[in-house]
């Protein structure tokens, strides 16, 4: 992963010092609430229902064990001893004190971490594929471009006061694990017929109130022009994005209003003014950044290790975990191990300080000292030798971190919702827990197979409910909490947005409705169809009929 230079380090330290001064002036009464709001958000600090929430950037989902240990320490010293993985691969602390945040940021700076631009109307931290660099299906490693974008977007002079938040995501695999179609800008790294690297660029995708899949505005942007082209998109957005209504301020509304073709033309014209300027990437810079992502020294191993296969045969639980939580690695004899933070009765994505330290030790021992966070709120050890999977699993199992449900119905993606978030319409965590309880038996969940279930507490859609095979959204109906269920969303392969099933349900009804939908699938599935495949084949009506049928 990228290692900070002295200059990177200096910028983060100066930013922490700047924020310390800003907090000081706020507490002194020299900054109004509204003024401080913008400043603190751009440093990741929200004021939530019970306490502030600090969002720490993990770009692009890569963490060193040193960094994770630091977060464990901070969570103990300044918070309640746990942290939360967000759906944008960042890490959140739910209970810091506003007065102490400058000290936390200073602590974070010692390990090259910060909360810069993790919230607010600016370019947010870039996300990517959690299997980047190791996935078997990957064409080109997207991470160097994420880092290049991180540097370009950090404290960009012109784009610090955008109409609204701005999210960029980059993938280098045909199977899109980075949700590039539902970001403000989605970038697919690819190579053309001549073998040159470039990007397919989408703009104007997004979830929230008006979910839209981002249209392609550039089929092939040569590698060196990445930043001048991004500058052009942002300049058009900064100039013309709506500022009169925050619900219409995202770039997706602008692209739609202008039409994607006109928007693309505007960007192209703007780009031509700036193309080939000094911001054009140099070969040296590209090589410098890529060098940080050269593969670690893999041993030369057989693809299928005998001892590993034996372990699978003799231990059913381990085998189960391997089937669900281990993904193929591009280096023979290595695997990608997913650590699921979705055990029943713990909030999805939460991890205690002790477990952070344990996982850091395991990463040092088995995975070159690196970890990744995922948009499904789990952790990944990306480079584990097959022969060591069993030892790893035993350690995880002892700490209750070996929940074998990756991609299953109980691997719920869920925002903090009404228990924490002041924007929420309804609680999300209790719903997640109830569904997890209903499908607690692993063979039941396994039989259902791949099923993405996503829950958001309001239409801000932090839980990505639109792209869940089953999506649940908290809505407010005359002051009480209700839930709208949608079906058919998908964020990978063929991206699609879910369709609303019908009138919303009370908290008591939701799990029953989910069960009914799952049953319709089980009764109708053919061969190896996943829930989403069956849904796509038979349509929403059978599900609707079942969900709303009168009890007799």
């Amino acid at each position: 992963m990228y290692a900070y230079t002295k200059q990177d380090q200096r910028i983060v330290e100066e930013r922490a010092a700047q924020y310390k001064d800003q907090t000081h002036r706020y507490l002194n009464g020299d900054l109004s609430d509204d003024e401080f709001l913008v400043l603190r958000l751009q440093n990741g600090l929200y004021l939530q229902r019970h306490a502030p929430m600090l969002r720490i950037a993990v770009p692009p989902g890569m963490l060193s064990t040193k960094q994770l240990r630091k977060i464990a320490e901070i969570s103990r010293d300044y918070d309640k001893g746990y942290a939360h993985i967000s759906t944008r691969q960042n890490i959140q602390l739910n209970w810091p004190a506003l007065e102490e945040v400058p000290d936390i940021l200073q602590e974070l700076a010692t390990v090259g971490m910060h909360g810069i631009q993790t919230s607010g109307s600016c370019i947010r931290s870039t996300t990517s594929d959690e299997y980047a660099g190791v996935a078997k299906d990957e064409d080109i490693d997207p991470r160097p471009y994420c880092e290049i974008i991180r540097q370009w977007s950090t404290l960009h002079p012109e784009f610090s006061m955008l109409p609204r938040k701005f999210k960029i995501s980059v993938t280098g695999s045909p199977k899109d694990r980075a949700a590039t179609q539902t970001n403000d800008i989605g970038i697919q790294v690819l190579s053309n017929a001549e073998g040159e690297i470039g990007f397919q660029v989408r703009a104007g995708g997004g979830l929230g109130r008006t979910p839209i899949l981002g249209p392609v505005i550039k089929d092939f942007l040569p590698e060196k022009h990445l930043l001048t082209y991004l500058d052009a998109i942002l300049r058009v957005y900064n100039r013309y994005g709506r500022r009169d209504n925050k619900y219409k301020a995202r770039i997706k509304i602008l692209v739609k209003a202008m039409t994607p073709a006109t928007f693309a033309e505007k960007v192209e014209a703007e780009w031509l003014r700036n193309k080939d300027s000094a911001t054009t990437l140099t070969n040296e810079e590209l090589a410098r950044i890529k060098a940080f992502y050269t593969p670690p020294h893999y041993e030369k191993l057989e693809a299928s290790q005998v001892s590993f296969l034996e372990q699978c045969e003799t231990n059913a639980e381990f085998h189960q975990w391997v089937l669900t939580n281990v993904s193929p690695h591009k280096a023979p004899g290595y695997s990608i191990a997913n650590i699921n933070l979705k055990a029943c009765a713990t909030a999805p994505g939460d991890i205690s300080a002790e477990n952070m330290e344990l996982v850091a030790d395991l990463a040092d021992c088995y995975s070159f000292g690196e970890l990744r966070t995922t948009h499904r709120q789990n952790l990944v050890l990306a480079d584990v030798k097959q022969t060591q999977l069993f030892e790893l699993w035993v350690e995880l199992y002892k700490a209750s971190l070996a929940t074998a449900n990756l991609g299953l119905i109980t691997d719920i993606t869920c925002c903090p919702g009404g228990d924490f978030c002041s924007l929420a319409n309804a609680k999300s965590l209790p719903i997640a827990e109830e569904i997890q309880r209903a499908y607690k038996r692993i063979d039941t969940a396994n039989d259902i197979g791949e099923l993405e279930l996503n829950i958001s507490g309001c239409m801000n859609a932090c839980g990505h409910h639109h792209v869940g095979h089953i999506g649940i959204l908290g809505v407010d109906k005359k002051g009480s909490e209700f839930y709208q269920v949608s079906l058919g969303g998908c964020s990978t392969d063929t991206t699609s947005l879910g369709k609303i099933l019908g009138p919303s349900f009370t908290a008591d009804e939701v799990t029953g409705v989910v069960e009914k939908c799952v049953n319709v699938y089980l009764e109708n599935r053919q061969d190896k169809e996943r829930f989403i495949d069956t849904y796509r084949r038979i349509g929403i009506n059978p599900f609707k009929e079942r969900a709303y049928e009168k009890a007799n």
Partner: protein, 162 residues
């Protein structure tokens, strides 16, 4: 007289702003900054004035519309209706990089200390800091950072080329 930060120093502001007149005879003597509307209506009269002239652009008025008249203006003031409205940053950047404007670019309106550093990078060199705030304190803003990643109007090379 009102104070102003110009080129990182506090000076007296010798300009007055005129946004609304019924006839050009109402234009006062001395240094004046006129709105785009006044300029568009009375350009000929204004060009013949002896005293220096400036223009005020609202946040949604693009520099493009005055690009052929830039040599008429000693000052281009860009208005920030709210400090969180970032359009003015793009206007200043365009004036400096695309139209090569060398005169004074002034930030007016909701201009606050914590934005000055980035404004200066976009090409502003004078700042009418909001009057209820300490202008002396605002001077500290320019030392917030000692380096930056991107190319800007002060440093045309991005960090990776330096």
């Amino acid at each position: 007289m009102k104070k102003l930060i110009k080129n990182r120093e506090i000076i007296e502001d010798t300009w007055s702003t005129v946004e609304d007149i019924d006839s050009p005879s109402e234009l006062p003597k001395g240094n004046i900054i006129v709105s785009l509307a006044i300029w568009q209506q009375y350009a000929e009269t204004l060009k013949n004035r002896e005293d220096p002239l400036g223009i005020l652009l609202a946040s949604d008025e693009e520099p493009e519309v005055i690009k052929n008249d830039l040599d008429q203006f000693a000052v281009i003031a860009i208005h920030f209706p709210k400090f969180a409205d970032g359009r003015g940053y793009t206007s200043a950047r365009e004036l400096r990089t695309y139209f090569n404007y060398q005169g004074e670019i002034r930030a007016v309106g909701d201009v606050l200390r914590d934005q000055l550093f980035q404004m200066e990078r976009c090409g502003f060199n004078s700042f009418a800091v909001r009057e209820d705030r300490s202008i002396e304190d605002a001077l500290n803003a320019f030392n917030d950072f000692s380096l930056a990643y991107q190319a800007d109007t002060k440093n045309p090379q991005p960090l990776f080329r330096r």
